[in-house]
Point group: D4
Chain length 254, copies 8
């Protein structure tokens, strides 16, 4: 509640247009709005085109559908991550606009209001086994209003492929790098470009990769600075973070 | 080497102004410049005001001085991190402009060319024991041409202090959060603001904090998206990453 | 065996009402009661209304039914945790009073003697995926004679929801907090209330949450004091501990 | 700010005793008090006799003295944990009432207002090497207004000593158990008594105790319920938690 | 090859009963017996009644049957551990004497020669979920010629049950303790008896038991000496070790 | 691009046989060949007989077939590791020459050009459960043009078997050792032979073997030097490394 | 308290030789003796010649001297482990019989009563850096009344040295093996001999030995059964366990 | 003992030149030579010019000198690793030929017989902090008779420096790569060259590098095959392994 609004309320009270109880109720609820940004921040503001994101694992199809239904009135985009085709079929029954991205295992309901699309995000993945996490990152950024360039299978075992992609990557505002095993591509790329890199370690590998630990530590310990690490297999988090960075860039530049 | 440059060389060769050997030498060296971006990227481009950064630990004062001396001709800023006053005294002998930031344990030699200063970065630290890492992040961003707002001691044990700082934080383009122990402030803040958060876990704590592991895992597992994690105690990396994000914002907006 | 009881026995012996063998048998069995508190403590005293608790995993339905049957004569409440509907159907055949709590995966046979219900315990969970562990904590406390207030889905990603719940929480004697991922809610809440918090890390999350390790370390390293941590996913242990604390409060106040 | 207070303010405004600006200022500051409980909660309420607690490690003597000085006007107790005699000497210069507990490595400045002392807390330690952490727990509870019974050196290697102490322990409201190595005493005791146990794993041991990990895991995995675990070597946290539980008991019973 | 045997061979050679080639062949093969103890040690000597032990997991039924068949001529006992009823059915087809121990998941073919049975081994298990590992330990010791006393469900949560068993345990030469979770029973018992304890941590538990790590560390860090730890869930290894200790005792005493 | 080639191009340009654009295109593409070694290095040069290796896990049969088909024109050997019989059936449809190695779970399509076969590699495995990884190592080396001696089941529990194999092993140029559990055979063998040992820890074992960690650490910490460790269960990597070492030996000796 | 004793007490009571209070006191104290075995078990029975063992680390010289003094009346052996020469000098002042074993860092005060010495224990160490732990094991066994054969520097890097020692080792009742790094000697030896092996992993090594973890896991995962593992660097525990096993052997055989 | 030798002995015995006792003694001692290769293998054959290597840490200067002295008669090279200048001064007193390599912290006494020097080994290090381990690797290979090319400071943060070094590296038979932090250089290089790479992870770094764990896991999980990993900071082991590989190459080619 801004002082300005409060001044209006007090005037109304003073003028008898509001009772003491009205003022108390108003202040309390506005107080909640003053504290309650979280609601807006949690759902993520409608005005920014940020989607409601539902983390799929551990939720029944019924629970997912229930949350989706409660969102449908709000007319903004919906994204369900790490979910299944079965859940998609259930969601489809309550929203004909629902699409299923099989690679990422994601359900998307695009906002009708969603019109602007900012360029500037690239998603680079090291191996074919990293593709589903890379796709999760890419569609997250897309649903949040960005155009995404996808560059797959450019791991350092064949580093020339990465060099071939450099001109495109250097045109990005932010680069998402998705890699498992030793994830060396993150620090190699960080040594070659000047924009921030959002690094997603994946659980791709076996043995002493310890479910993604080797990739995670590799990215956190990059000898080149400029690497922002998110959780193992967290494609959504990477797409979200990249969108935040990219939006700042384009929003600021208006 | 751009096609354009190559065309010029071929013209010169064609016109007899360059011998075949000249062309080969030129192409090879330009090739190195074409591949050799790394040199530029490693040192970090002079034009961006990015500093040469020297990681202090494990280097003798002599080694640090040697590297600093080799940089002094290039007239761009120098930063030595996690170093000591003893090393500073040695550096001071070769550069009168050297300053020592005691809190961060850093030596700074500011570039004469460094004139622009972008606003937009805040550094938030959770406890007084996190101050030195927070300061390392702050001066890194400053040396890279940014104005930094420092907000200290706003850990979630007294969450009102964080709320008091929200108006300032919401004016930032990017927020660096420095916290040890459980590092809850990173996810709390990520739920309250819309800009990206660069999270630095610190080794502050004891027992099952396991030298910063609890803070690291806490930040990587933030229930709110928008958190970019760097290595434990890596204040430099956080300042660098924040500068990259902030520079993009202001450079793009020109 | 208290000295008082022993005195009575000796009088009876002295008066010829008990033979030497009677006394020995009595002392031995009472000795067992004197040493054998464990039996009482293990089962947990009938008089306190504490339930016999059977940990479900790794036991066949037959084993569970066998233990339940041996308890049915004692007329006090029974609780089987982390069990299945299949096992419930088997238990139901030997006790028509058995109920199945699907959310918690628990079988409950309420004691007929169970009449008092103490208020004072709240169970707070951070996300919908934490609900089953939260419910396990809640029904444990209920079966032990407590009224429980359940507050779900108040993770720090939308911290206003937690603030909305503060008035209720501040009326509690003890608060159980159930959270996965980084579990920041435990330390945030510990900084806001004055009563003890029983913290249950859950294995909810993925990647570097390492099956609940991030939540466990987060709770153990809370920057605010007043957090009592139990094992990962140990809803029962939290409900039990909270009941102990709450019972002390109300029993003492008589 | 309670509705009642707000009503008074509105009456004053209505009666012209407060201007519109007065009301805004009053609401804002009270708002801060309404959100700002944290300040009170952080320092811990004067009325409860809770001390300001300063975690010693990583702070210079100057920093400690500075914080202590800022507290001296408030006339409530001060506790500095895990500190040194050198720091104590510096604190003593600004407060003649400062005492040094050598065993715990703690500085205490008792509140003049501190008069009530609740009984009900026992501190049990397993070995002589656990004594300093046990003492930290004990003095924390004492400074918070509790009488503490100390029972040392009752590890399970000589379990009869623990049995000897049972009558005293069973008169407690809450028992703090401090143990390193395998910390078996926590679960043994939890199987013998009915009140909650606050368990402090210590880093006492060597080899595969891995700096307290074995004790921590042992306590978290107690086969008997009723064990509340805090961080390794966190005597302060245990004392604080026990005081919260014990205070609830006595305050409620009034 | 003992000198005595060599002398005989040389005499035979000297006497022309053996050719030079005979001697070489004899020495080489006996040499292999002199080096080749391993065969005997690996299979474990027929004369000691030690069984051929086949570790079941990762072997097909065909592989198990093949190894069993190759053993059947040698007339000494066979033990297959951690196997299934399906494999047992296959083994039964080649040996009618095969028995299946369902609790331990073990196949046993007793030696006809096996006649002596040494008393002196007790197997103590903490919870019902530890029973299968305890049984694996027990039958291993039995197949190796020992009488085994089984004492189940005496975990420290009800320590009186352990005390009741002490007279029996004190009559043992060696005690096998099988426990999961925090495994406190190992150190409690080691503080109460004078004979060596072979401790088997089990993977029973959940959460921060980390697949048996808590029990393993608990046993390794026992505050009472006299605890010999084997691998997690290694009932066979414990039974074998106990049999070695017990055999030494009785063999030496002849 | 070698200077020699460049000189030819420049001559052609000079002679008017190439236009400026031709030269640029040529240099750029050759540049790619100069940088682009990676392609050759990644696929591994046709001329060295190195196979295209496809890591099976996480790829659908369709994906594997797709990659195999794109390789079939190149006429060099193909190896698919850690795959299934189902995938083999699919591959067989596009290549009648495909063979399935059931033990290793590998698909092989031998090159028609593959004629030379170098001797010098032995593969030693400790237990029958290590056989599939050992076979993966062996066929990798075979497909790369080596003869491989397989020596199975020579773990240190029966060390005489290892000694029997020493004469064969000492004729090798490089020895691959495949072992799980404590993997002691690697350091024992390294103390007995003079050629390099490529050590493959396997995940064979249970409990505190922690999915191969014990074998991995055992091999990395070998008290005898000369042990080259690869990832847990990485039979392919070991076979590849051994082939590299062996090829160097024979190629150099020509 | 045995029934027999109880019967005597009741007779005395019946006969008026004991009052009711006498009986209660007697039963209670005998009860304590019935429970209180621990005292005897903890100190370890004088009659077995078991020493009082004082773990040195974390105790001041004053504390050590205090404990030693309280033992001196009991006339049985004293052992202080992992202590310093400084502490020895202090102990020497109260007991002229004190000896210092520099290699083990141990103080020994031999019992005058100690006369029997059992043969049968060998201590084998892998490298010279393991010597101090090996010596700690040896003197522990010696002080407990055993003759100990020491065999040093027989690591598997030169396995012939181990074979040379086999005849001596095969004459032992129990063998203590002390090794760091990968500790392969434990499983090699377990495959060669028939008596139990007490394995002490040491923290000798660096890097991925992780303070003894590699040796610990190596010993726990021995592919040959018959290995009893104790804590890292726990020479005392190994000596104690070996003495228990050996004493059983010789005591039983009387 | 070879059959041929045995035949000679038998002839001698047959001819009466040897008694039966002579033959037994001869066979037994030769047996030891047949088993006893270890001595030769341990010290490492004089003929190969392999040095006696003494691991410095945990040995007193006296111990080092003692071992060195016992080697001096054998006239072959000596290498003491990870030692100090103080120890060097002591060694120098018994051998004037001793040299101290300060960077590696190594003492070297070169063999007079050492004449051949094979080329073919390169040592590449990623950062200046890796230099001492790289030097340890280099001098180990040198003392074993190899010429070593050192290429320092070519980490992937400035990948052009690595490309500049490729021509030299491609002339090697084997490349040692020494890197800390994420150690990406190992897999990058493995993707660019065809010879085996010996990878040494170093403990260089901080925070989540966890004393070299990140580099170790990075190297073990290289996405390009051909990487042989040794222990963290094990420069000696890498130099030794590379020398074995290189020696095989040149010896075989004779």
């Amino acid at each position: 509640m801004k002082p300005r609004d409060l001044r209006d309320i007090l005037s109304a009270f003073n003028a008898g247009r509001m009772t003491s109880d009205d003022v108390i109720r108003e202040i309390e609820s506005s107080l909640y709005e003053d504290i309650g940004f979280a609601k807006v921040d949690h759902h993520r503001p409608i005005r920014t085109g940020y989607p409601e994101v539902i983390f799929g694992p551990g939720k029944t199809s019924e629970q997912v559908v229930g949350i989706v239904e409660s969102m449908l009135d709000r007319s903004h985009p919906v994204l369900v991550t790490k979910t299944t085709f079965e859940t998609f079929k259930c969601v489809q029954e309550v929203s004909g606009d629902a699409e299923f991205n099989e690679l990422a295992g994601a359900i998307i309901i695009r906002s009708e209001l969603e019109t602007i699309s900012r360029s500037g995000i690239s998603v680079v993945s090291a191996g074919t086994a990293d593709l589903n996490i890379a796709e999760e990152a890419a569609i997250t950024a897309e649903v949040m209003g960005n155009e995404v360039v996808r560059i797959n299978d450019v791991g350092v075992a064949g580093i020339h492929r990465l060099f071939d992609a450099l001109p495109i990557l250097r045109d990005s505002n932010v680069i998402i790098v998705v890699a498992g095993m030793e994830a060396a591509i993150a620090s190699v790329l960080a040594g070659l470009v000047s924009m921030p890199i959002v690094a997603v370690p994946t659980s791709v590998g076996y043995g002493s990769n310890f479910e993604g630990l080797s990739a995670l530590l590799g990215m956190l310990n990059s000898c080149a600075p400029g690497v922002a690490t998110v959780n193992i297999d967290n494609g959504f988090g990477a797409g979200y973070l990249a969108a935040q960075i990219n939006q700042g860039l384009t929003v600021k530049s208006e």
